[in-house]
């Protein structure tokens, strides 16, 4: 991986980390509300996958979507404003955390319905194929989503039509309180690729390089017209399913173990070891990310609520 991309991934992970921490602290101080699903601990997946995508490539995301959105080019201020339901947010306050989208940047949207994004991403890939472009699509989804019918239908469609798409499963071991062993009949969700005759790979979702290798292959395959790939990234979410989750289903020790596997720390060690960035540069990037997110929070906090008089706008495209 070239250093420029590595730096981009690092910077993106820092932005995501700061964004989530800020959202949490705003939530805890009652300045932000709603079903907020933080992806802290899972940043490597979004950042590494999206480092392979251009603006014209597509993603669909999930309820746990801040990371994907930021990695696909979302402005943190507009995203934070959306989390607060402000009129300046991506969705003018209509969508909230679970619907941040920016079609112009290829982000076809977070999605509050588990697995609903997978068929939509397949459709975007079909569109690229029909239009004869070299665009590709990525569908992000969780381990829990892999048990929905939509997962199956989307993967079969994509495989039988050889669509340029990558299915990226972030297996953080839980769907809310339900451990993947209780919900899912296979140890590795990547095995399900066999059901569609496509490549399926398990990677360490906290290791940028491991993810990168798999994504590189999948992108090449998609662009060569050979069809979809399934990549399962084993990872963990540090916080509850949502802000306010009592987390009765796991122990503090387990969380601690995974915090030790922090993807950002791991990348930092590499950057340090290989002298790609100096300590100072890294510190600077930390503080830049932090200021950017502070500014985003400021922007969001000082933005006005939507005007109720506009509530009926945008139901339809006015032909």
């Amino acid at each position: 991986m070239d250093n420029k991309r590595l730096e981009w991934i690092y910077k993106t992970m820092l932005t995501i980390r700061n964004f989530e921490d800020k959202a949490l602290s705003l939530f805890e101080s009652n300045q932000l509300r709603g079903s907020v699903h933080l992806c802290t601990g899972q940043e490597a997946v979004a950042a590494t996958v999206c480092s392979h995508l251009r603006d014209e490539d597509y993603i669909t995301s999930t309820h746990r979507g801040h990371g994907h959105c930021i990695a696909k080019g979302a402005e943190p201020d507009l995203a934070m404003a959306e989390l607060m339901g402000k009129s300046t947010g991506y969705c003018l306050g209509r969508g909230g955390s679970m619907h941040i989208a920016d079609v112009t940047k290829g982000n076809l949207g977070a999605n509050a319905i588990v697995a609903a994004g997978l068929p939509i991403a397949s459709g975007a890939a079909l569109s690229a194929k029909l239009r004869g472009t070299d665009q590709i699509a990525v569908a992000f989804f969780g381990d829990g989503a892999a048990n929905e019918g939509a997962f199956h239908e989307a993967l079969n469609l994509a495989a039988v039509w050889k669509l340029p798409i990558i299915f990226v499963c972030e297996n953080n071991q839980f769907g809310i309180s339900t451990h993947v062993d209780v919900s899912t009949s296979v140890k590795d969700i990547a095995v399900r690729a066999k059901a569609y005759d496509i490549p399926g790979e398990v990677v360490d979702g906290n290791d940028v390089f491991d993810i990168d290798k798999a994504v590189k292959k999948a992108v090449a395959r998609a662009k060569a017209g050979k069809g979809p790939s399934l990549i399962e990234c084993k990872t963990y979410r540090w916080y509850g399913h949502w802000t306010g989750d009592p987390q009765v289903y796991r122990s503090k020790e387990d969380v601690e173990i995974w915090k030790q596997k922090c993807p950002i720390k791991r990348l930092e060690e590499y950057l340090r070891e290989h002298k790609i960035l100096t300590e100072k540069e890294m510190e600077k990037m930390h503080s830049d990310a932090s200021s950017q997110i502070d500014a985003a929070a400021e922007f969001a906090l000082s933005s006005p609520d939507p005007d109720p008089a506009t509530v009926l706008e945008n139901v339809y495209f006015e032909n």
Binding site: Y90, L92, V103, P119, L130, E153, A154, L157, V160, V315
Partner: protein
């Protein structure tokens, strides 16, 4: 003008719109070689190839979702559902995704998408293949809903649907496919959404009927004219948007209205029409707005029973007499 069957009218518009705009493509079950089990895509694969006339796996949520994704990214998919009853396995993609995305994204996404297919009685296809399910798609904001009753309306409304930038549910009727009628040859012939058609003028009673019920209402009107009751028959053509103004205008003249549809009476679109029309025309009404629709049981397989469940000409005659207090 050409005389053609309702199914052919649909096919021809699909063909013309695919010729006109290469973003338009069709997909669905058995629409390629087979040309659709009701023939609505016959010949299209031969002309446009298998990419643009795309057989799908039996994965309705999957391919409707794919339609949403293709639409968001610049295509204009027209999806055939073999039976509109199968919307039930894809409801989330229709009601939560297609209908809501534009609004939820703050107006920053555009979703031109047509989901078309047939429904209704006539073939004794039993409970899960004979329903009329249009009402579901009028409750959740974001869709438009068309229900053509004639070959010309099928052509004109389908063209409008394909050129519209919104997701549209297009309800054809299996028993109408073989019905012939005059259709304008103009390749831009279209009928706007939200404009009802007055199928027969009359002074005494307004009958608002949809889809297959339009011809039954017209037949009933003929019978009633023999009794000295002059019936006005109106076909809404689209039920979302709904041309309430035309209904109100008619009721101001007649003072009485009966709504007739094939969907179940309970919570059918007649409920909305009756409630709204009453609110808008209360002082003109000489009788409550009445409703006819399928009885409150699953559509049975037996044709004897099927016919007993859905309003027939005699039921309409009876319904009109009742609100005329005769």
């Amino acid at each position: 003008m050409s005389t053609k069957k309702y199914a052919v009218a649909i096919r021809d518009v699909l063909q013309q719109e695919m010729q006109r705009d290469e973003r338009v493509f069709v997909m669905g079950e058995d629409i390629a070689e087979q040309g659709g089990i009701f023939g609505c895509t016959r010949g299209l694969m031969e002309e446009f190839g298998k990419e643009r006339v795309r057989n799908t796996p039996i994965s309705e949520a999957g391919f409707i979702g794919a339609g949403v994704g293709a639409s968001l990214t610049g295509m204009r998919p027209v999806i055939e559902l073999m039976y509109m009853d199968f919307t039930y396995v894809a409801m989330d993609q229709i009601l939560n995704q297609a209908a809501k995305i534009r609004y939820m994204y703050g107006g920053k996404a555009t979703l031109p998408l047509v989901i078309r297919g047939q429904q209704g009685i006539g073939r004794g296809n039993a409970g899960t293949h004979s329903q009329s399910v249009e009402a579901f798609f009028t409750h959740i904001p974001g869709l438009k809903v068309a229900m053509p009753a004639t070959p010309a309306d099928a052509a004109g409304l389908l063209r409008t649907a394909i050129r519209d930038n919104n997701p549209i549910m297009f309800f054809e009727h299996k028993a109408l496919y073989a019905v012939s009628g005059e259709v304008p040859d103009d390749p831009d012939f279209s009928i706007p959404f939200g404009k009802a058609a007055i199928m027969r003028e009359g002074a005494d009673v307004t009958v608002i009927a949809t889809s297959l019920m339009v011809s039954r209402a017209l037949e009933a009107a003929e019978k009633l004219s023999g009794e000295g009751i002059d019936v006005e028959v109106i076909d809404p053509r689209t039920i979302l948007p709904m041309d309430m103004d035309t209904f109100v205008g008619s009721v101001k003249k007649t003072g009485r209205a009966l709504v007739v549809h094939e969907a179940h009476r309970t919570m059918g679109i007649g409920a909305e029409i009756a409630a709204e029309l009453t609110e808008k025309a209360f002082v003109y009404l000489d009788a409550p707005v009445a409703r006819l629709g399928a009885k409150a049981c699953t559509l049975p397989f037996s044709l004897v029973l099927e016919n007993a469940v859905v309003p027939g000409v005699d039921d309409i005659v009876e319904g009109v007499r009742k609100i005329c207090y005769r």
